[in-house]
Structure formats: structure tokens, C-alpha cells
């Protein structure tokens, strides 16, 4: 017994050191982006030292210029608006759909069909929807941020409905019956009893939907093009030509685009990691 405790308490130092060294593969690209973003173009000599050494003075000039060139606050506004609206609507709509379908699909063929119909949407690649969607959103007058939100609500529906119906299987129907006895309608029961209980699944759905929409380029690229509005990633693509060979400006802009999600990750690291793992494993 003593022997076993000793083994469990020993740290595998070579492994620890190896893994810390491996972190360089993650940190190096970010370190490079940071030092270049703070440098002046004149500091960028043609050797590696010019790119990778620390800047002589940490100036925010590049960031101010990048904000001006890429219309940063507007792009950030669109990104935040689209992501927040999509996440909130996805939680409300997909959980409701998951509830209605999940509670009925065992005994009713219509709901069983609805479930399979929606979940099969997971196999539809965006590439096949892309071109018709561009035409369709234009005809409907929603070839803008609003249309992007509508698309996301549909694209994430298969995964989210599957997650919610799966989670619902573990919530006993007896909980609802108690509320029915008190005279509550199904609608009231849902919001008072079921919706709060599904809290952990809301977190998973929120994380997966938020990461997907925040980083997505393709949907806003094809649907919002021509409106002059950009999301944060789309702005990097749109203004790529204006950065030219001014990499200091470009990297300042990239960092600004990465900053919100990095801050978010620092604050809710645990929820994000759990959300991503739960979404994949369940």
C-alpha cells in the first residue's frame, strides 16, 4: 500500500518538461503575432531577428491604424450582434424544438420523422447550400446580417436539437406531471420546470454555437457581401489588400480580431472546454 501511494505521488518530470516545451508550438505563432504587431515597419529587418525580437518600444500606433483601416468597431459590433442573437435564439428555439420533438417522438411518427429530418441536415455541406442561399436571401431581402442569423439558426439546428433531445431523455416526465397537477399548461411547465433543468445543455449549446458563428467566414462572406458590413474575421479578408506588405499593421489587426475570443476564453475556460467535449461526446 505504501509503495502504491509513493508511485501515485511521483511526478513524471521528463514528461512534464516535454509537455511544457510542446506548448511552444501553440505559443510561438501568438508570440510572433504580438511582437510584430507592436513594431514599426522600420524595425523589420530581413533576418529572423527583425521579425521575432522584442520591439524597441511598445507602441499602440499599429492598433489605432488597424482600427481605422478595418472599421474595427463596426465589424466588432456586427460580430457581437450576430453571435449573441444566434446564441440566444438558438437556445430558445432549439431547446423548445428539442422538447416538443423529444417528448413525442417515441409514440408519434410525425415527430420521429421531424427528428430524423432535422438531424439529417448535419450531412448537408454548406457548399451545396451556398449558391442557392445567396439568390434566396437576396430575393427575400435578407442578404444582410439578419439573413446570416437565420442561416445559422438552421445550420446549428441539427446538432442542437440532437443534443437537447438526448439530454431530455434523462429528465423524468414525472417532474412535468407534478406541474400539470397544479394546473400549469405545457408551455408554462416548459419554461418553469424543463428550461431551467436543461441548464448544462444550454451551456454546451451556447459554447458550440458561439465558437462556430464567431469564427465563421464563409456564411457572412457570401451573404453579406455588397452590404459594406463586415464581421471581424471577414474584415481581415476584406482589408487584406490594404495591409499590403505592412505586416505590422496586418498583425495588429489580426490580434484585435483574436482578442475578444481570447479574453472570453480566459474568463470561461472551464465552460468552453466542457462545452466542446460534451458536444462531441454526447
Amino acid at each position: 500500500m505504501k509503495q502504491k501511494n509513493k508511485v501515485a505521488a511521483t511526478t513524471n518530470w521528463p514528461l512534464t518538461i516535454l509537455l511544457i516545451a510542446g506548448c511552444l508550438t501553440v505559443i510561438f505563432p501568438l508570440y510572433m503575432a504580438i511582437v510584430i504587431a507592436f513594431k514599426k515597419p522600420t524595425e523589420m529587418t530581413n533576418d529572423i531577428a527583425g521579425a521575432l525580437s522584442l520591439p524597441k518600444s511598445w507602441s499602440l500606433e499599429n492598433f489605432a491604424e488597424a482600427m481605422r483601416v478595418t472599421d474595427f468597431w463596426h465589424s466588432l459590433g456586427y460580430s457581437v450582434m450576430i453571435t449573441v442573437a444566434t446564441v440566444v435564439l438558438a437556445i430558445l428555439l432549439h431547446s423548445l424544438a428539442g422538447y416538443a420533438i423529444g417528448r413525442s417522438m417515441a409514440k408519434n411518427k410525425f415527430y420521429k420523422f421531424s427528428y430524423l429530418y432535422i438531424v439529417s441536415g448535419m450531412f448537408v455541406p454548406f457548399a451545396i447550400l451556398m449558391m442557392p442561399l445567396v439568390k434566396q436571401t437576396a430575393q427575400m431581402g435578407v442578404d444582410n446580417w439578419f439573413g446570416v442569423i437565420l442561416c445559422y439558426l438552421v445550420f446549428y439546428m441539427p446538432m442542437n436539437v440532437m443534443l437537447y433531445t438526448g439530454y431530455l431523455k434523462n429528465i423524468p416526465i414525472a417532474l412535468e406531471e407534478a406541474a400539470f397537477v397544479d394546473g400549469a399548461t405545457t408551455w408554462q411547465t416548459y419554461w418553469k420546470v424543463i428550461f431551467p433543468i436543461m441548464g448544462p445543455m444550454h451551456a454546451t449549446v451556447a459554447v458550440l454555437t458561439a465558437l462556430g458563428t464567431w469564427n465563421d467566414v464563409m456564411t457572412p462572406l457570401v451573404i453579406m457581401s455588397g452590404t459594406g458590413a463586415n464581421t471581424l474575421p471577414l474584415a481581415q479578408l476584406t482589408f487584406q489588400t490594404q495591409f499590403g506588405t505592412n505586416y505590422n499593421l496586418a498583425f495588429a489587426s489580426y490580434l484585435l480580431a483574436l482578442l475578444p475570443i481570447l479574453i472570453f476564453y480566459l474568463v470561461c475556460q472551464k465552460q468552453i472546454i466542457n462545452g466542446v467535449v460534451n458536444g462531441a461526446v454526447k
Binding site: A51, A97, I128, P233
Partner: protein, 282 residues
């Protein structure tokens, strides 16, 4: 107001959700199928051409090249991602210090947007690596450009894959190893005969998820090569976007998208069946 019955409430929820899903998933899918039988350029009038687009697809060198690239890329990236992620997960699950901090760092690439990550790596491939090796940029050579895309895509994908393997490893109880050690199973043998069989469900999830993501690769290509050099890194999604939206091949690329859709469904069904059978054998 008359109280709605449980079934009426469910119907009132499900029907609008199905309508929304139909409108932005099934309808564009059907439209894409219809366009695939026309010579539509994306604007103006068009004629029916029957199956000609499909016949042309199989003789079009550029389309063939994009399928070859996409599959080669997806296969190599899937294997690379899973091998590295599994090793990393074993390490991060070992007796190490600063476990959660290390996991936190290795997860960072998952939350960053593919486009901006692509731009940052673009600089590494163009300026940093050639300065170290003394060679030319990987991105300008038709033999190596696809490897650069593999590296960037794997760098991002390893983060989530590792986390899923870790959650798999945590389901393996400690006494399995202890019992194995008594029978002389340690190191590689213990991994092959004890650990791996027990985490096969997680292996399946990772294979399916990473393969599907890699087959739809777009952002990294947009940022790193735009399909070049000499169309050697044109993925199917990128080709459909590039030639369908801007190249006047709306109809032809719709046919390409339909085939791509069928391929994705076929691969998903095959993978699910294959891994399902493997799990049953255990």
C-alpha cells in the same frame, strides 16, 4: 382564451421550426439540385442541359484535381491529427504537474478563427521558415503547399481531438492498468491491449469529426494559398465557391456540389457503420 392541449402546443412549436428548417436547408438543397441541370451563369437567362454538367464533371481536370487534393489532404490531416492528439492526451493524462494549465494552453488553437490563424501561419511559411532552412517558401511550391495547409489545419484540430481523447482516457479505471501490470502489460503493450480498445468509441468520434471537418476545408485555403500554386491546393468547397460565385459556373458547380454532398453522406454512413461494427466486436 382556451387552454392549448399538450399536443397542440407541441405542434405549434414544431411546425414553424420545420418551416424555418425547410426554408433555409431543404429549399436551397432542392434549388441547387435544379440548378445543377442548367447552364446558369449566376445571372441572366439559362437553359436546361440535362445531365451534361454531370458528364462534364467526370472529365474536368480541375474538378478531378480538387477531389484528389481534398481527399489526400483530409486523409493525411486526419491521421496526423489523431496520432499527435492521442500522444498528447496520453501525456496530459499522465502524472504531470500543472495539468490543467497545460490542458488550457493546448486547447487555445480550437477557439481561434481559421482565417486569422491561416494569415499568421502564412507569415511563418513565407518568411520565418525559409530564413531558418535557407530554402524557398513551402507555399510557393506545388509539391509542398498542400502540406502547409495540413500543418495549419492539424494545428487547430489537434486541440479539440486531444480533449476528447483525454475524456476517453479518464473513463478507463485505474485498476485496469494495475491488473494489466500484474499480467506483464506495460508501456506499448498496455496501450495496445488495454487502453486503446477501451477508448475506441472516442477514437471513432474523433475520426468522424476530423474527417468531416477536413473534407470541408475552406478558411485555411482562403488565407494561405487561394487554391494555388497552379491550383494544387484547391479544395472542393473552395472550387465551388470560387468558380460558382465568381467564375460564371453556377450551374456546373451546383452539379459539383450535389456530387460532393453524396460523397459526404456516403463517407459518413460508411464511417458510422464501420466504427459501429468495430465497437460491437468488443
Amino acid at each position: 382564451m382556451k387552454k392549448l392541449s399538450r399536443n397542440q402546443t407541441f405542434l405549434l412549436i414544431t411546425v414553424p421550426v420545420l418551416a424555418l428548417f425547410f426554408c433555409f436547408n431543404t429549399l436551397p438543397l432542392i434549388k441547387g439540385l435544379i440548378y445543377s441541370f442548367t447552364n446558369f451563369k449566376g445571372f441572366g437567362s439559362y437553359d436546361w442541359v440535362g445531365m451534361r454538367n454531370y458528364a462534364d464533371l467526370f472529365t474536368d481536370a480541375r474538378v478531378g484535381k480538387s477531389y484528389l487534393f481534398t481527399f489526400k489532404f483530409a486523409l493525411v490531416a486526419t491521421i496526423l491529427t489523431n496520432v499527435i492528439a492521442l500522444l498528447l492526451a496520453l501525456g496530459l493524462n499522465g502524472k504531470i504537474r500543472a495539468k490543467s494549465a497545460l490542458r488550457g494552453v493546448y486547447f487555445v488553437p480550437r477557439i481561434l478563427g481559421g482565417l486569422v490563424v491561416g494569415y499568421i501561419f502564412g507569415y511563418i511559411f513565407t518568411y520565418i521558415l525559409p530564413a531558418v532552412t535557407g530554402g524557398s517558401s513551402m507555399l510557393s511550391n506545388t509539391n509542398t503547399a498542400w502540406l502547409a495547409i495540413v500543418i495549419v489545419a492539424a494545428w487547430q484540430s489537434i486541440a479539440q481531438t486531444t480533449l476528447i481523447y483525454i475524456s476517453g482516457l479518464q473513463t478507463v479505471p485505474e485498476d485496469v492498468y494495475e491488473a494489466g501490470a500484474i499480467d506483464g502489460a506495460t508501456g506499448w503493450k498496455s496501450f495496445k491491449e488495454l487502453t486503446f480498445p477501451l477508448i475506441i468509441p472516442f477514437f471513432s468520434i474523433n475520426m468522424v469529426l476530423s474527417m468531416k471537418d477536413f473534407l470541408m476545408v475552406f478558411d485555411q485555403i482562403m488565407a494561405l494559398t487561394k487554391g494555388g500554386p497552379a491550383q494544387s491546393t484547391e479544395s472542393i468547397s473552395y472550387l465551388i465557391y470560387n468558380n460558382g460565385m465568381g467564375g460564371g459556373q453556377f450551374g456546373f458547380q451546383s452539379a459539383n456540389a450535389v456530387i460532393f454532398f453524396i460523397v459526404i453522406v456516403a463517407i459518413s454512413v460508411f464511417q458510422l457503420n464501420f466504427t459501429g461494427k468495430k465497437e460491437e466486436q468488443l
